[in-house]
Amino acid sequence: MFENLAKAGKYLGQAARLMVGVPDYDTYVQHMRLTHPEQIPMSYEEFYRDRVEARYGGKNGSSRCC
């Protein structure tokens, strides 16, 4: 029961963050560990700054609608 609630809370947090363009940090770290073990992953702070720049920096064009 509590496990399910914790899981739901985690999903909700992930969903809320992705709504504003920040993907899951743990998934990123895991991806780096599995596929690029020779590289040091960005810290959460760097990761967050990188995502903010990507969302509004104009590389992806418009990210929202009218």
């Binding site: 709504m19 993907p23 991806h31 990761f47 509004y56 064009g61 009218c66």
Partner: protein
């Protein structure tokens, strides 16, 4: 799946949905002329969404697109944990929906309600199932099979370089018009509303605090900062109520349209050159969460309150072309007034933006693309309900231009407006108009065009009543205004930035130096050009004594639907190239319908002899008036310059419309050419990324349990 064992019970369930929907529609049809409960409208709509999703989108997935669950998506191929991330479909649905839902589905249905709720309801439902959701879904699919490329790149690759450049220029122009019309909705909502203006202005320092918190104090703690921000917003609304009644402070925030226009233009320029973390990002968080919260709240509110529809199912304006809110006949103008909610070309940019880079499996494009658009349609339906539960007399007094409500310039505006609206057949007393203004804490609600204030009155009634009278009407009214203004301003800010990059790309074709996004000069020049462009349309719209919304909104609707037609043409070309031309009617039918609607609306806007509809006829009528020498300053036109400005603006709008019509004709030519070429080939000529199988541990990667 357990398809065969559950098929009997599932068939019964779907039969039940179909019967319920048919019953709700029957009830609406049989009770014409009497007011019905909004729940019937909501029930009928939800049944249509379920059936459209279950049957039509499944048909498209299996028979038209032939989605392949074993095919690797760009999220896996380019997985970098940043832009390309295989994402749980429910989480990605939230991301996609937050990106497509904006002010469009809230404003269009409110304006269209002047014809009664039934025509709008039917168009929203039929439009979304056969056109809007199909477009979003197919563009998402096409982009996913091509590494998540953008609409402009897709058109260029599949149809040629020239159509690609045309599509880019069209996107840029549409962006400018969208920014102007959205900014105008804010100006109309805040004019002489110190309470509203204060709360919106209050969000700027609030965003600065959040931005600094997110950058330096607790970096990247979005949810913490957002909870603080939402609390700050509520405080701002309450404080705004005090400011509005303060004789010292109220005058500072009691601005007219022109002052607000300048404020917005300056704001738009400054906001899009400031660092994003300081203003744009935190305000984006606030507006996104507030938007989702308000939509959920409105849905719950309607179900709890179960309001009655006060607006007639069909008004007389559905049969003539003289509606006070906007002029024009039901065909074609209803179909361009409601764009977002039924079909919106802008979504093609979103469906080919970030979403395809995070799609874990092709089969999920159906839920995210088709389902996401159904959800937006549901938002449009709620906006239509909110506009229809208020007294029709109030609706028309709020949405008609001042020149129509008070043509002789009487001092007692409420009396003049109530007489005019009553003469139109929607009986209303001046007392009711002043009472509602007092309820929502405004000096006047007359001629507050643009849709936002009307929606705010409806939402305030729904939320206030659903919460059993918790909070005052005026609090919820300003909450609703703030919710709309906030995400429109975020859109203006982000849109100015996006348009700036688009413009720099286009200018880069002329001079490569202007393409450098790290050059301060190029940045400032492009930003100034973008702000000046939408600022111009905003300014002339605001000072237009005949009402700017009814000029700009059709222009926006036509261009947005034209973009949708172009996106559907692209999908058609792709289907022909995939040798799926036998089922290409799925995109041809909506594309054709949009071409018919936009071309006939464009034709009427340019060449109708009715000055209320045609830009050129209006300009010529005013020119003749000046030439005859009979012009005297009056309540509508205060000076000869005002007339000349309206003449010039109408001519400019007319030329724009003609330009867009030429674009559509050219794109039709390129589409037919590409389709014929594809037909001649005996094998598939689609330029997809070649097939590769899904990784074996795909599920584990999505759920984050891969080792």
């Amino acid at each position: 799946m357990s398809g065969t064992s559950t098929s009997a019970s599932s068939k019964i369930a779907w039969l039940f949905v179909a019967i319920l929907g048919a019953f709700a529609f029957g009830y609406i049809a049989l009770n014409r002329g009497e007011s019905i409960n909004a729940m019937w409208v909501l029930t009928a709509s939800v049944c249509v969404y379920f059936i459209g999703y279950r049957f039509y989108s499944l048909y498209i997935a299996e028979k038209v697109l032939k989605v392949d669950a074993t095919r690797m998506t760009p999220a896996f191929r380019h997985n970098d944990g940043l832009d390309y991330v295989p994402t749980n479909k429910v989480i990605l649905f939230g991301h996609h929906f937050a990106a497509i839902a904006g002010a469009g589905p809230l404003v269009g249905p409110v304006l269209a309600a002047q014809m009664g709720y039934l025509p709008s309801m039917l168009w929203i439902l039929i439009g979304v199932v056969v056109a809007g959701a199909v477009q979003d879904y197919m563009v998402l699919f096409v982009s996913t099979r091509r590494d998540g490329r953008s609409l402009g790149e897709l058109v260029k690759e599949e149809m040629g370089t020239i159509p690609g450049i045309i599509a880019l220029i069209a996107c840029f122009m549409i962006m400018i018009i969208i920014l102007a019309v959205l900014a105008m909705v804010v100006v109309k909502a805040l004019t002489h509303s110190p309470w509203g203006t204060f709360t919106v202005a209050f969000t700027i320092p609030l965003a600065f605090i959040m931005g600094i918190y997110l950058r330096f104090i607790r970096p990247g703690k979005i949810l913490e900062a957002s909870v603080f921000g939402i609390a700050g917003l509520i405080f701002g609304i309450i404080l705004g109520g005090q400011v509005a009644v303060s004789p010292t402070w109220a005058p500072y925030f009691d601005l007219d349209g022109v002052a607000l226009t300048w404020a917005l233009v300056i704001y738009g320029f400054v906001a899009s050159v400031l660092p994003v973390w300081l203003l744009l990002a935190p305000r984006d968080y606030l507006s996104t969460f507030l938007k989702i919260g308000a939509i959920v709240g409105l849905a719950i509110g309607i179900v709890v309150m179960m309001p009655m529809m006060q607006m007639p199912a069909v008004t007389k304006y559905a049969f003539d072309s003289h509606g006070p809110v906007w002029a024009g006949t039901l065909f074609p103008f209803l179909f361009i007034t409601i764009a977002c909610g039924a079909v919106s070309g802008f979504h093609a940019l979103i469906s080919s933006g970030t979403t395809p880079k995070m799609l874990a499996n092709e089969t999920q494009a159906r839920m995210i693309g088709y389902g996401g658009m159904l959800m937006e349609s549901f938002v449009a339906m709620m906006a239509l309900i909110s506009a229809s539960i208020i007294d029709p007399g109030v609706y028309f007094a709020m949405n008609a231009p001042m020149g129509a409500l008070n043509p002789t310039g009487l001092a007692d505006i409420a009396a003049a407006a109530s007489t005019t609206v009553s003469n139109w057949g929607f009986v209303i007393t001046p007392d009711i108009l002043t009472q509602i203004a007092a309820d929502v804490g405004e000096k006047s609600i007359i001629s507050r065009a643009g849709g936002a204030p009307t929606l705010a009155v409806g939402m305030a009634q729904i939320i206030h009543s659903a919460l059993g009278g918790l909070g005052s009407m005026s609090f919820w009214y300003h909450f609703a205004i703030l919710f709309e203004a906030l995400f429109i301003l975020t859109a203006v800010d982000a849109g100015t930035r996006a348009a700036r990059f688009m413009l720099q790309d286009l200018l880069g074709l002329i001079n490569p130096n202007l393409k450098k996004t790290n050059s301060l000069f190029a940045n400032l020049l492009a930003t100034a050009l973008v702000v000046a462009s939408w600022g111009y349309f905003l300014y002339v719209g605001v000072v237009d004594p005949l009402g700017g919304i009814n000029t700009l909104w059709p222009l926006f609707g036509i261009t947005n639907q034209m973009l949708a037609a172009i996106a559907l043409m692209l999908c058609t070309v792709v289907l022909f190239k995939m040798k799926q031309h036998s089922v290409a009617w799925v995109s041809i039918v909506p594309a054709l319908w949009l071409v018919i609607c936009t071309m006939s609306a464009g034709w009427l806007k340019a060449f109708s002899s009715d000055p209320a509809i045609s830009f050129f006829a209006k300009a010529n009528q005013l020119k003749d008036l000046l030439a005859s020498g009979n012009f005297k300053p009056n309540a509508v036109f205060k000076s000869q310059e005002a007339v000349e400005r309206v003449i010039f603006n109408n001519q400019l709008d007319g030329i724009l419309i003609l330009g867009f019509m030429v674009v559509v004709v050219v794109m039709i030519g390129f589409t037919i050419q590409a389709c014929l070429k594809a037909l001649k080939s005996d094998h598939s000529t689609a330029v997809e990324i070649p097939y590769a199988p899904m990784p074996a541990n795909a599920e584990a990667i999505i759920s984050g349990t891969a080792h």
